[in-house]
């Protein structure tokens, strides 16, 4: 598992990235095809999922899997 703030996220073999934010909430990030999504803003999107919320992010860098936890936290706040 990861620790919050500055640590490296945990990358799984399934392409997911897990990280813990500053409120100790575990988030799992996955990249998805979005061709069939109404109102899509791109061909793909990121889904940030925790136990009490899911966020969709349309704009993100190609190397998002290599981001450190603070950058993933910031990215999850974007849209």
């Amino acid at each position: 598992m990861t620790a919050s703030g500055g640590s490296k996220p945990l990358r799984t073999g399934r392409g997911e990235v897990n990280f813990v934010d500053n409120e100790e909430v575990l988030w799992t990030v996955t990249e998805r095809d979005a061709h069939d999504v109404p109102g899509k803003r791109g061909a793909r999107c990121l889904i940030f999922a925790s136990s009490d919320a899911i966020r969709r992010v349309w704009e993100y860098p190609a190397g998002w899997r290599d981001l450190l936890t603070p950058s993933l936290i910031a990215l999850s706040w974007s849209r």
Partner: protein, 137 residues
């Protein structure tokens, strides 16, 4: 946990958050929680009324139950998200009592930008609405 605070002046400059719920009691709770931190919010319960109000007021943020049908389709969220040219700033948060993985997948397939189960705290709901309104974290 208390509700996060932010400037009501900033929130008042935005179109009201449109709350969509067929349960009046749950709709009232959502309105109170959003109003407590300065968001202007209005409620609708019928799908066709939702479409009219969202189009008329150029809604930025819609907080909706999951399965809300309308005359134009099986889901108001799917209909409105398909109108990106007309509603380019529309962000949809599904706030629902339907909380299985399948429900969440259905919401994402309908085009939602965020999903918060009704069991989550008011602070979580407010946090996610702030994100969709574009407030700094």
């Amino acid at each position: 946990m208390g509700l996060p605070s932010f400037s009501p002046m900033l929130a008042s400059a935005l179109p009201p958050v449109l709350v969509v719920d067929d349960n009046p009691a749950e709709s009232a709770v959502t309105l109170v929680n959003l109003g407590a931190v300065g968001f202007a919010a209005v409620a609708e319960s019928e799908g066709d009324d939702v479409l009219q109000r969202a189009r008329r007021s150029l809604t930025h943020v819609l907080v909706s139950e999951l399965y809300v049908p309308c005359a134009e389709g099986d889901c108001v969220v799917r209909v409105l998200k398909s109108e990106r040219a007309r509603l380019p700033r529309l962000q949809v948060l599904i706030h629902t009592r339907h909380t299985t993985d399948l429900d969440a997948e259905w919401a994402l397939a309908a085009g939602c930008d965020a999903f918060v189960p009704k069991g989550a705290s008011a602070a979580v709901l407010v946090r996610e609405v702030r994100r969709l309104e574009g407030f700094a974290k």
